[in-house]
Amino acid sequence: MKEILERINQQFNCIGHEFQPENLSWVQVDKKQLVPLLSYLKHTEKFTHFVLLTAVDWIENNEFQLNYLLTNHTLHQDIAIRVMISRDEAEMETAHHLWQQIATYQREIYEMYGIDFPSSPRVHESFLLEGWDGIPPMRREFDTKKYSEETFFPRPRPEGKDPQTHMKQKLYPNEE
């Protein structure tokens, strides 16, 4: 596995790579190198099984992180490719010509995070939510408890039966 990482490092300019024990390794590349790297891994290094595509929102650094996970079934190893894209222009090249199932992941990421994958099939159709007109819900600035309290009618708690105050009085009777 370490030889494979060395070869990838030589061919594509990796920003970082790491070999974790228990079959998982990480490689971080630039946005433009991603699709050539995926194609190289699929055809040359035999990482033929695509597992997962996720996004993580790092709002403090103003960027999104995309993770592509692949598996090699002869060596039983996983490899994860990390790509950072900017939060203001959230757009990424599509990879669905390599694996057909990526189109579903890209639909979900567009709906949940707002990251656009132009020319992916059916990417602008609503996938999980129906009639949603707010910001993409998985972004960190969306407060789900506040939204739920405002939209759905929460049942008010009956008077004098708040469990937090009751337990506080029971466990710490002397504290104020």
Binding site: L129, G131, K145, T151
Partner: protein
């Protein structure tokens, strides 16, 4: 088919109020496979054409007998809306045996009179649940299963599930738990049967009486009121 539609006191769902217009929801002419020409207006044809009417018992003397008959043959609509639907198949096995109470599962709302809302309802499912409820014939009863229908349960802060069921449809019996055991379900059915025999299960009439309030709550939550469309 679409000549006598009247919308009495229902808010119009025109293109201006509809924020999610779709191309196939315009008026159009289709040809059925037999060659017949049909005019279709999807936004008018798929909802309640008239307001529902209150059903009062016609012969009070027989009503007690009829209530007993209704309570001893409750037919459930087989629509599993959430987590709780996983405890419904064990009810029909010989161990818990709901069939001895006369309870059977029916696939269509036109032939059932009990709707079990088993668990949470997302907005997408709420729309279809309301439509199924409105398609059931009177008298009909609703049993709310699980704590998600009472106050939101485990998903109280989710952006896609409702918190209180009785703002959208009238509920007769609540069964608490997460999830309730099949024995708890049978105890809930017994309570419902007692309520029906006493003549207090008036969910359908309550829906008629508070129709505007329920519809306003539903339309506030469900922003996309269009229904999936067939092509003829």
């Amino acid at each position: 088919m679409s000549e006598e539609t009247k919308h009495n006191n229902q808010p119009e769902n025109t293109e201006e109020t509809n924020k999610f217009p779709k191309a196939h929801l315009q008026k159009r002419t289709v040809y059925s496979p037999d060659g017949e020409k049909i005019e279709v207006d999807p936004l008018q044809d798929y909802y309640l054409q008239d307001r529902p009417e209150r059903r009062d018992p016609r012969y009070r003397a027989v009503e007690k007998f009829l209530n007993w008959a209704r309570s001893e043959s409750l037919w459930i609509l087989g629509f599993g809306t959430g987590c709780g639907s996983i405890e419904l198949p064990p009810l029909t096995t010989p161990r818990f045996d709901a069939f001895r109470f006369g309870i059977a599962m029916r696939p269509t709302p036109r032939q059932s009179n009990l709707f079990i809302i088993s668990g949470y309802l997302s907005i997408k499912t709420l729309k279809r649940a309301i439509r199924s409820y409105e398609q059931m014939p009177d008298p009909k009863y609703v049993v709310a299963l699980g704590s998600c229908t009472i106050n939101g349960g485990m998903y109280f802060d989710s952006y896609n599930t409702i918190n209180r069921l009785d703002k959208y449809m009238p509920v007769d019996v609540y069964i608490a738990g997460c999830m309730p055991r099949p024995e708890a379900l049978i105890a809930g059915f017994n309570k419902l049967k007692q309520k029906i025999k006493e003549g207090r299960a008036e969910g359908a009439n309550e829906y008629v009486q508070r129709f505007d309030e329920y519809k306003a709550n539903q339309k506030q939550i469900i922003k996309d009121w269009n229904m999936p469309d067939y092509n003829w």
